[in-house]
Symmetry: C2
Subunit: 283 residues, 2 copies
């Protein structure tokens, strides 16, 4: 069968598979100085945001990505107080991070303020914490922000970026990771979304190598399903200077907030990697 014009299709180049969502209507479209943003209403996945024709999130399944980009790394760090999010302008990651009541400050650094303004309008549930007094918004280039940030001043950096093409490209470089390493405290942790294990293994390998070249002593990937991203299977990669098997499991069991995907068993399970990944990634 072929799909009529009422579908949004993202082709995952160069892997030659594609994912499509049935669209009820286009709600908004604009060209910003950084990218083309579009918002659609789908028939079964709620609202959809695309950036430069790539699917960023839908109402239906964004909870998995946002929970897995925030809770595992936050329950790994022994005492995360100050967090920086690079990208993530839809504020879904920010919303999850702020569920941790022990966190004192979260700086949300998004290059394109329009992503956040449109998320407030079309994904209001992700933006419920935007007025939390612990949240600070900096609408500027995350690379510049990190280059100028004070050393040894942040506990966890979450790089909730687009793919390593277009505006997100500089967020996968030695220079950027080295600045993250410099800005993090000795116990600090960096987490970066790191694409599909099935489709983008060379890129995932390169992320590990680049993080280590930048100064991090240890790196470790975790994996989770993500229906609307290519292959439906995604990774995040954590970098630090010590043991990345640490886990405040009791705190995770006793967490005071609700999650739909995450739980402590999921955290442990997410680090169990298939053989082809164990063989393909550094120890």
């Amino acid at each position: 069968m072929s799909l009529d014009n009422n579908w949004f299709t993202e082709q995952a180049s160069p892997t030659d598979c594609a994912f499509s969502l049935h669209i009820k209507q286009k709600l908004h479209e604009e060209e910003t100085p950084f990218q083309k943003i579009a918002i659609y209403e789908t028939t079964e996945f709620g609202n959809l945001m695309t950036l430069d024709e790539l699917i960023m999130l839908t109402d239906r399944d964004n909870f998995i990505y946002h929970e897995m980009m925030s809770h595992p790394v936050l329950f790994m760090h022994p005492n995360p107080l100050k967090i920086v999010i690079i990208g993530g302008g839809d504020c879904g990651t920010l919303h999850e991070v702020l569920k941790h009541t022990t966190i004192e400050k979260v700086i949300e650094v998004e290059i394109d303020e329009r992503v956040t303004r449109l998320s407030e309008q079309y994904f209001p549930s992700l933006c419920e914490s935007n007025t939390d007094p612990r949240a600070e918004f900096c609408f500027q280039d995350g690379i510049e922000w990190m280059a100028k940030a004070q050393e040894n001043s942040v506990d966890v950096i979450i790089v909730d970026s687009t793919d390593p093409l277009g505006p997100g490209e500089g967020l996968f470089t030695v220079d950027f990771y080295h600045n993250c390493w410099r800005v993090l405290t000795a116990e600090g942790l960096l987490v970066q979304q790191s694409e599909s294990p099935l489709l983008h293994l060379p890129l995932l390998q390169s992320i590990h190598e680049t993080m280590r070249q930048a100064g991090f002593k240890t790196t470790r990937s975790l994996q989770f399903p993500q229906c609307v991203y290519p292959s439906g299977w995604w990774t995040a990669t954590i970098a630090g200077n010590g043991d990345l098997t640490q886990f405040r499991e009791e705190a995770a069991h006793n967490k005071s907030f609700k999650t739909r995907y995450y739980n402590p068993e999921i955290q442990k399970a997410s680090f169990a990697l298939p053989n082809f990944l164990i063989e393909g990634l550094p120890d």
Copy 2:
């Protein structure tokens, strides 16, 4: 963007998402008494088999499904000697099961012999064990086979079926599961592919309920990524009469065969379910 005619698209009705693969050429197509079988050469996923326009498998990612339909249940059963596979005519599951050298006999029951003959031609690596003397092929209806099978005679039944529509429909019923229960030994285990947790939760719930109505005391789902199936995320559900947390972990660690996805940590991780599934499924 829209896709040209060189793509095979499967629309996951009624959930209104679709997955497509770029096609180099159609290698074969035929109507059997049971279904329409087509084989394509894709640009990046190797060969593709479809049944009634639904994607069954590709060279690139079938290893995950076949390993996860076989090794977890076989390493749960204390001593699996006699196995029955219902469906699975492509022989990928059979190939994985026969890697267990302690297994004495595997009966492969496929309603449509043409699926197997075409798999031998277009997916030869999946059929490498078809001449194993422990393998017996019965090209007949799995429902009938099970209704006539001797009680208390099989250790593990693997239902490697199509969706609960068309020829596979009867493999999701109380009658069929009751016959499985009757045919299994007291320690016997049934595993059934059980669709997407994100898209088909009511169906997954119904599979648990139906298995329990049929006589099984305990049921448990495991999950794994499967790129070419709707949502890229899939489950298998195991039914038995006792503790479904049993695991011959040492045997799994010492297994004499290679796997690309499966390992003992993956087995444990596959049973860690997200909160929305824990809440949605019976204890």
